[in-house]
Symmetry: C2
Subunit: 335 residues, 2 copies
DNA sequence: TTGAAAGCGATACCAC
DNA sequence: GTGGTATCGCTTTCAA
């Protein structure tokens, strides 16, 4: 702490020997100000170390120069285990840094947190909202629609088509992954899915079915999980129990694939000779598994960046159209 | 968007048939208000869906009901690869949710972002600051000291002893880890360090030296890394080149240990028969490596929670003393 | 180009 | 217990 109380614009104006109006003009771009006055004000600002009060400014401009990122997930472990979120944040921040917007982070796990979220979204404290990871029937969806600021979704919510969202081509990516397994001669292909109350989980599962359908192969070897490592361990064990003859598995996330590999090793399966494994994400994990993981690359930072850009557009009153970012298969040693 | 413009407290007062002063009293706890008036105001608030403007409130109270978490790291990959950060955030958020404080997240990677950070910290927009992951000579340190709000550090900054910080027992944990290697008969023990311009990197390295020193074993098998997987791969390969006879390695982070395991496998080393490996962190990764990783557990969420609690104390004008959280060894199959 | 004055939406103090 | 009023620090008309 230092103390002394921050200087106000009036003190700047007084020191510079101009009116407050002039000082304000200089601070906000400097139009309609004589060069002489301009310089004096700048000098005063420098000397006083003046920084405008955002609260006062917000009060009159009705803007906050801040946006919120709400991550609405009942499971905080997901946030910590799944590198997806951090990467989205980095992508968002990259864009925000260019425009002097601040980022409020709101985790929506507990009821208490959701109430806080509700209040934040309606206390006109942010100029825009980004929503990540909506589960089915999420009350947040309705809440966001009522907010009087623009809203952008990261990942399409399940069952609805919001006006503005950014997503990865989950279905296409999954299809590619499973087609690769088919092409390389696998016949008894299983999948560990993501959460089926989220679009991302359903879409990747559909991709799995798409590929097997076209190939005329059965698609009944399915176990559900929720993106956590623990759930993946259970699902993989379950698959091996029910379908000991499986010769390949498409796992809907790298972090889960890493966990599944552990189970496969334990059960004596050789990768990829006995069982081929494909993941989804292409995060750092995919390189350090044993063997390195064939996986579907999705551009997560770009997803975050596009969300932020879209929000900025909307906040500026410009239109924006939803986006689906391409994915691509990266072949390594697990297939 | 919905529109219509949010209701003000005056409209609430008018609808309730009381003065604005009375309405305000109800909103802020309801002391000195008659039951009748109290109820009328509540009803009006409900009907109008009134939510106070935080900007207006901040302007007069000089508080913001918000705190900032600044993560000052030159390498954004760290934020995405190292689950540490997400987990600290969850810990912080848990505490914040209880007290209706909002969280501003500020990443301080680029020069541009650092300037933004500087502005945010001095625009009296937050009532407290948490600083994470300071590297040596970080200009942020000085900046934070000048801020006129309380500051709490997560992880001791290198070379200084700030008034308020929360850290894990990095040195003690590392010592335990290496002692375990010694106890189980390892003689040629190496280490892959964390970044040596951060206290966490130096402290864990010191723990390594402590243990070997007490055991009378040499401590020259050292390769530096910076917590990223790529750097760990390089460091591990380097160690094997220089000390092909090493029979154990203490790696300063689980994520790096996972990467190191890959290199060891590639070079034909059996784990743990030929080389024992110990990590640090005990995140989910440690369970899904092959084999599962012996590692030092550190309470990361607790670290975040304690940072937040400490900040709340300071903001309330109560004193607080720095904290070092204990670590403990978790033995799995890699040793 | 500049200065004066009117709010923005709340809190807090003051008499009543 | 209640209502009126000054005030927080800034932006933004409106005249000059």
């Amino acid at each position: 702490m230092a103390g002394a109380g921050q200087p106000t614009i009036d003190e700047v104006a007084r020191l510079a020997g101009v009116s407050r109006g002039t000082a304000s003009r200089v601070i906000n771009g400097g139009a309609h100000v004589s060069p002489a006055a301009h310089e004096k004000v700048l000098k005063a600002i420098e000397e006083l170390q003046y920084v405008p009060s955002r609260a006062a400014r917000s009060l009159v401009t009705q803007r906050n120069d801040a946006v919120a990122l709400a991550i609405s997930d009942a499971n905080p472990r997901l946030f910590t285990e799944h590198p997806f979120f951090s990467e989205v944040i980095v992508g968002i921040d990259t864009v925000l840094a260019e425009s002097d917007l601040e980022l409020m982070l709101v985790l929506g796990a507990s009821v208490r947190e959701r109430n806080r979220l509700r209040r934040q979204l309606s206390s006109r404290r942010v100029d825009g909202i980004m929503l990540l990871s909506l589960h089915g029937e999420d009350p947040l969806y309705e809440l966001a629609e009522q907010a009087d600021v623009p809203v952008v979704y990261g990942g399409k919510p399940l069952g609805v088509e919001p006006p503005h969202y950014v997503d990865a081509d989950n279905r296409g990516g999954a299809r590619q992954a499973v087609e690769h397994l088919v092409t390389t001669g696998r016949q008894r292909i299983a999948t560990v899915t993501g959460p089926m109350d989220m679009d991302v989980g359903v879409a990747r599962y559909h991709g799995f079915r798409d590929a097997l359908g076209s190939a005329g192969l059965p698609a009944h070897r399915v176990a559900n999980a929720d993106f956590t490592a623990a759930s993946a361990v259970r699902a993989m064990a379950d698959l091996l129990d029910r379908f000991p003859d499986l010769d390949a598995v498409f796992v809907a996330a790298d972090s889960m694939a890493a966990a599944a590999l552990g189970v496969l090793h334990e059960r004596g399966r050789r990768i990829p000779q006995d069982v081929a494994v494909v993941g989804f994400d292409d995060r750092a994990t995919a390189l350090t598994t044993h063997p390195p993981l064939t996986t579907v690359h999705q551009p997560v930072q770009a997803l975050g960046a596009e969300m932020a850009k879209m929000l900025l557009s909307l906040m500026a009153g410009r239109p924006a159209t939803s986006l689906i970012l391409p994915t691509r298969l990266v072949i390594r040693q697990s297939t």
